[in-house]
Symmetry: C2
Subunit: 166 residues, 2 copies
């Protein structure tokens, strides 16, 4: 894990502890690596619940109830699907107050308009049944898939930290 990722994971852990908030993850293109980065922080099990890895569309539907219609149009790499992932993971993990969702197309063979696009969503539980969700769109530079994946992890942890600070 890169130093940048580890530092950002530590910052997220500090902010969660300060707020006494527990978090959950919903990851597609980062495949579990945002959740995994957090486990490098000692004591994080007080604040990090876990989450879901929804790498395939069928699994986005099975675990999070994302509808086939949305996954078909606008498709999985979209603001609406990122929002739904952030909301739904809070619904299925009742002890979590905060969520981070990541869905993107890291390439290769992406359509030009989606190449390197990553949608991030941070959910903050309002009540039992609803969440405030903020979104951010990243456009990653033309790098290899794994380099882009590292940038997506960094971006997700940075967005989460900013949201927790705000």
């Amino acid at each position: 894990m890169s130093t940048a990722i580890h530092e950002r994971a530590q910052r997220v852990a500090e902010l969660l502890a300060a707020r006494q908030s527990k978090m959950a993850t919903a990851e597609s293109c980062t495949g579990g690596l945002v959740a995994g980065a957090l486990t490098a922080v000692p004591g994080i099990s007080a604040w990090h619940c876990g989450g879901v890895v929804v790498y395939r569309n069928e699994t986005k539907q099975a675990l999070l109830g994302i509808s086939p219609e949305l996954l078909s149009d606008p498709g999985p790499v979209s603001e609406v699907v990122a929002r739904a992932m952030a909301e739904r993971v809070l619904a299925i993990i009742p002890e979590a107050d905060v969520s981070i969702a990541v869905t993107g197309h890291l390439g290769p063979n992406a359509p030009a308009e989606l190449d390197g696009v990553v949608w991030l969503a941070v959910g903050m539980r309002k009540g039992d049944r609803s969440a405030d969700v903020q979104v951010r769109k990243l456009r990653l530079p033309p790098l290899g898939r794994l380099e882009r994946q590292q940038l997506a992890i960094e971006g997700a942890l940075a967005f989460l930290a900013e949201s927790l600070e705000g």
Copy 2:
């Protein structure tokens, strides 16, 4: 990611492709890093569904329905909980045929009898409602938490590959 982990992830991907099997993960102490290691293999989205990260006990219960009784006795680091994780993740991800579950105590501050113990379970779907499950117990050497985590990831991928070859 270490070369050993990457090579084992590639071997798992080859075996899944040869069997036309899709897989799912259920991770506690590895925190999403087994799922994440698989995403380094190009084209893996054909065979890797995703899965769950159940870092906290409450989340093991919420996402996988592991009972509070089992989580209390014998506790989350046990053969019975590893088995249940491997079975339940197949139940909630219908398109997956194969699962790998990982639960362990990487330290520090583990009770002596659990220090460095990792239970692995591989599930193979038999029918719609049941799975054959094989288990393996690892006893990791006295290393730091992150070094032990890397060994747990390697061990999980190795056990999965052996099960797919068998």
